[in-house]
Amino acid sequence: MRLKINGEVVDGISASTVQELLDELKITAGRVAVEVNLSIVRKVDFGRFRLNEGDAVEIVNFVGGG
């Protein structure tokens, strides 16, 4: 499946849920927030939130800032 992740088009994604996507990308779910097509996906829903071809996914976390 093709997704747009953090602005980059990524092909061959096998994950079908947000949680699987995070696993596939080796990202610890605990410290990130996820947005799919501009709406936030709650952490509790990561497992059941299904991704579709072409979804725009944003995965963010905290970095140093003032």
Partner: protein, 257 residues
């Protein structure tokens, strides 16, 4: 005296708040925060690097159980962006705290107060504990309080400028008459005396990032700021002597030969 700062029921051990930007590495960040004695650290919300996953995470160095994580919306120039980042921050984090920034232009990084007011109102309604980064305009501070801000964070001077508290008069007016919520000076503090002056004006806390991270020795400057904030707070509480143009002897005349 018990002198704990409380905002919306949250207790703050330290009146020095620190940023986590501009450090050489996470280890230096960790050491500086430790030296500062701060229990609030600001962070920004940014995209995870999905290409290079090795890169460590800031939170590996700052234990969210030990520190209050205060996400900012730095870099947001519109109400929409500020809302989006705030909501992502809350989702990524563990609290409703947000240091709200709606920036007006890149040269000054001064707030766009009109957008700031709108965003504050919306986020407050959504249950956020909104700490807006604003100008030193007392009227705007009051407006933000009315819009639901939990505290106001007036700037002392442009972010990273190190100019200190450029207009202590306005800060004093904000504290004395404009608002009842806590006042936390944000931006401009360049050295220890700047932080002390902010606290002597009656501010409830000071937020510093560049002033510490940009110093030649950030760890030492973090310690300096820690002592400066304590000093300024104590001096404010102690009640300083009044200023006089002429002298008054400190030694007695009685008993001279």
């Amino acid at each position: 005296m018990d002198d704990t700062l409380i905002i919306r029921g949250i207790e703050f051990r330290s009146r020095l708040w620190v940023g986590t930007g501009k450090y050489r590495d996470f280890e230096e960040t960790r050491k500086a925060i430790e030296a500062s004695g701060a229990d609030v650290v600001t962070v920004s919300v940014r995209r995870v690097n999905i290409i290079d996953r090795k890169s460590e995470n800031l939170l590996d160095y700052i234990d969210p159980k030990k520190y209050k994580i205060l996400p900012n919306t730095a870099g947001c120039y519109t109400v929409e962006d500020a809302l989006r980042y705030s909501r992502l921050a809350r989702e990524a984090g563990i609290s409703d705290l947000v240091k709200l920034e709606v920036i007006g232009d890149e040269k000054t990084l001064f707030p766009d107060t009109i957008g700031l007011l709108k965003a504050t109102e919306i986020l407050a309604k959504e249950g956020f504990i909104v700490l807006p980064y604003t100008t030193d305009d007392p009227i705007m501070a009051k407006r933000l309080e009315d819009a639901g801000a939990a505290a106001v964070m007036p700037l002392g001077a442009p972010i990273g400028s190190g100019l200190g508290i450029r207009n202590p008069y306005n800060i004093r007016i904000i504290i004395e008459t404009a608002v009842k919520i806590p006042v936390v000076v944000d931006a401009g503090v360049g050295t220890a005396s700047d932080a002390a002056i902010a606290m002597e004006l009656g501010c409830d806390a000071v937020l510093i990032n560049t002033g510490i991270a940009g110093a030649k020795d950030p760890i030492a400057m973090a310690a300096a700021m820690k002592h400066a904030v304590i000093a300024g707070r104590l001096a404010y509480k102690a009640g300083r002597i009044s200023k006089k143009l002429y002298a008054t002897a400190s030694s007695p005349l009685e008993g001279m030969l």
